[in-house]
């Protein structure tokens, strides 16, 4: 999740930015709120979840605008990626089969998990039993992001 560049240090946005400016602002405000939320009573790993989730939603938003609705131009899309409004690496995964709903990049990094395997949220729901279905992953709080879910 690269941080969004401050507007003073970037090129002016291409055409169409004003169409999505307001919604991007909503995401930014949500993000600020999440970052400033007190995390004293929350386990350390959970404190990061809202931030991952908002980041995911914003990337998804931009991804859908460009790839699914053809609502924004290539120039604007590139500009948004470059300026940190969407996570290019995560979007790159979404374009690959089997990763269409991937929650975050951490969840497929095998090294970081205890079991040296991908995150539990990558296991298709259909293969989970009973209480296991309620599991949230440690890295981003994902409840399941297999393509079949």
């Amino acid at each position: 999740m690269p941080p969004i560049r401050p507007s003073s240090k970037r090129k002016p946005p291409p055409d169409g930015f004003s169409d999505i400016e307001e919604d991007l602002l909503i995401f930014s405000n949500k993000m600020k709120d999440a970052q400033n939320a007190p995390s004293d009573n929350i386990p350390k790993h959970q404190a990061q979840w809202p931030i991952f989730q908002i980041s995911h939603q914003r990337s998804r938003y931009i991804y859908e605008l460009y790839y699914e609705k053809e609502a924004i131009s290539k120039q604007l899309y590139d500009w948004l990626l470059k300026n940190g409004y969407a996570d290019a690496a995560l979007i790159a995964k979404w374009k690959k089969q089997g990763y269409e709903k991937l929650c975050c990049l951490r969840c497929i990094q095998t090294k970081e998990t205890n079991f040296n395997s991908t995150c539990v949220c990558r296991v298709p729901r259909a293969q989970m039993k009973g209480e296991d279905r309620e599991v949230q992953c440690v890295s981003c709080g994902c409840r399941g992001c297999a393509s079949t879910d």
Partner: protein
């Protein structure tokens, strides 16, 4: 989400008579259609010749197996649908509160209720001491009081009948105990259905009725189960079964009348969200529902670029009646997606049309307003730097300067030159863009983005342009046709919108009526349940004592 199978018995439908086929309406109802007669009905047609039951020991038992509801033959399923809803709703999993089986425990799946055969009278017993009154048991284990003299029925059993009915209940409990003992002793009617364990006895006295509801359904009968009631019930009852005191049609009409008041079924704990309401209401076509939802998005001026979650969080649309014309969030999101895609494309096209309007036009207008040979470019730039036209990032400063110089130099030209230059400009624009339908205030970008247009003072320029336009011909044919076609399309779109809004209003009204009825029904059911509980309590209190004194020790042992 997987639809949940309705709670149903093992009953298998008999084959349809020739000519009839089975269909699923979009609402999920099953209906039957006869291609020859063009009839359709919600009620499963039966072969006319087939006797409803095999002859049994008690001829009257077959009487109760008859269809209790007059055959409905409505050729239009929609009409039939409406009819059914006023008739008291297709039967959804009736009588569940009795058996205590709510809709299955699987999380969150709302099963669209399947239509069930209509409840109907199954057996009856005279209420001793209240001669015209009869207690009627329905197929789904409910009962109501029927006054055969007045031909009136009441779900709520009149207070004065209560003691007598209590006696009947007690008698029935005793009968049951004895009947079971008898069965086991005789063993003549086939093998005993169960080895009666202790738990059997602990069940409430209604359990066998419930069982009956479970295993028998609709027109079948004449199998082993149908005779069970006769075994277990008061033998006195048979005399009531003999003479026909009230006909099947009578009782059906009574049931229907009561059903119209209260509905025929009610599931405790069922939440009445829009999904259920949609069931009873006249159905909007799928297309209408989708279009209404889109109308709503447009009417609320929803930003088509916004993400769905934001739309929902803002909550502006969720209270609109059109929000619920689509049954599920999934369906709504789908339609929203389609709408936003289309709306964005339309916006794009519109912008392309207006593309050239800015930024040069605004800058040229500023020049015409403020530029003067007395100001150098640098001075002009400093003086008007706060003007929007000067700040527009789409125009390079270099270009602004170039146009400024060009404009100033043109100001020094004589009027006649400026006019002939403007004439040349106008002549260069094709008739499709500039014609006798154009006006001085809506000139095409080709004119507006040319300095030759801006060099004349406004008054003489507009006069000149108007004179020129008046001398032009009409726009080429293709253009005219397109314009007319658009009008036609707009008219049609408006008409269609009116139509689907009317359909929505009808539906809303029906939903309200249905809601009202459901509320009434709920109140009624609550009251009835309370009453039944009290009644049951009383019956059990007396019943236990009665049983203890009735059972011989030997017979008693069989149950333990």
């Amino acid at each position: 989400m997987q639809p949940q199978p309705a709670l149903k018995s093992t009953y298998k439908a008999p084959p349809l008579p020739p000519g009839w086929t089975e269909h699923k309406a979009p609402t999920g109802h099953t209906y039957y259609y006869n291609a020859e007669t063009k009839e359709s009905t919600y009620k499963r047609p039966v072969t006319a010749a087939a006797p409803p039951t095999a002859p049994s020991a008690n001829p009257a038992s077959s009487f109760w197996q008859h269809q209790a509801v007059p055959q409905i033959n409505l050729s239009d399923p929609n009409v039939a649908n409406a009819f059914m809803s006023q008739y008291g709703q297709p039967q959804h999993q009736p009588g569940q509160q009795r058996g205590g089986r709510g809709p299955g425990g699987r999380g969150g799946s709302h099963a669209r209720p399947k239509p069930q055969p209509i409840d109907k009278p199954r057996s009856k017993v005279a209420i001793p001491g209240h001669e015209p009154w009869i207690l009627v048991y329905t197929k789904y284990g409910r009962r109501f009081a029927y006054n055969s003299a007045k031909n009136a029925s009441y779900w709520r059993i009149p207070e004065k009948l209560m003691p007598a009915i209590l006696e009947l209940d007690k008698a029935r409990i005793r009968q049951k105990a004895e009947g079971k003992a008898l069965d086991t002793l005789q063993g003549s009617e086939g093998p005993p259905e169960k080895t009666d364990g202790p738990e059997e006895q602990e069940k409430d006295y209604d359990s066998s009725e419930y069982e009956e509801v479970e295993v028998t359904d609709d027109e079948d009968g004449g199998d082993g189960h149908a005779t069970k009631r006769q075994r277990t019930e008061d033998p006195d009852q048979s005399e009531n079964n003999g003479p026909v005191e009230f006909t099947e049609e009578d009782i059906a009409a009574q049931l229907a009348a009561m059903g119209a008041d209260y509905g025929e079924d009610y599931e405790m704990g069922q939440d009445y969200d829009d999904y259920d309401h949609g069931e009873a209401a006249p159905q909007l076509s799928d297309d209408d529902a989708r279009e209404l939802f889109k109308d709503m998005l447009s009417d609320f001026n929803i930003n088509p670029y916004s993400p769905w979650d934001t739309l929902i969080e803002q909550g502006r649309i969720v209270d609109d009646p059109r929000y619920t014309v689509l049954p599920t969030t999934k369906a709504r999101k789908e339609v929203w997606e389609e709408w936003s895609r289309i709306t964005i494309q339309e916006l794009k096209e519109l912008r392309q049309k207006q593309e050239k309007k800015d930024p040069r036009i605004a800058y040229f207008a500023l020049l015409q307003d403020k530029a003067t040979p007395k100001l150098y470019w640098a001075e002009f730039k400093r003086k008007y730097k706060r003007e929007d036209a000067m700040k527009d990032i789409k125009v390079a400063d270099k270009d602004r300067e170039k146009w400024y110089r060009e404009y100033i130099s043109r100001l020094k030209l004589p009027q006649s030159t400026l006019k002939s230059d403007l004439k040349k400009l106008l002549e260069s624009v094709p008739l499709s863009q500039l014609n006798n339908r154009s006006s001085a205030s809506s000139l095409p970008p080709a004119v507006l983005t040319d300095l030759r247009y801006w060099s004349l003072d406004t008054k003489s320029r507009d006069e000149f342009v108007e004179g020129y336009i008046a001398g032009l011909g009409p726009p080429p044919d293709s253009g005219a046709e397109q314009g007319a076609g658009e009008d036609e399309a707009t008219k049609k779109a408006k008409e269609e919108r009116r139509k689907r809004e009317r359909a929505l209003q009808d539906r809303e009204r029906a939903v309200q009526e249905e809601k009202h009825r459901q509320e009434k029904k709920l109140q009624f059911e609550r009251a009835r349940l309370r009453e039944e509980e009290r009644e049951l309590e009383r019956a059990m209190q007396v019943g236990k004592k009665g049983l203890q004194s009735q059972l011989t020790p030997q017979e008693g042992e069989r149950f333990i």
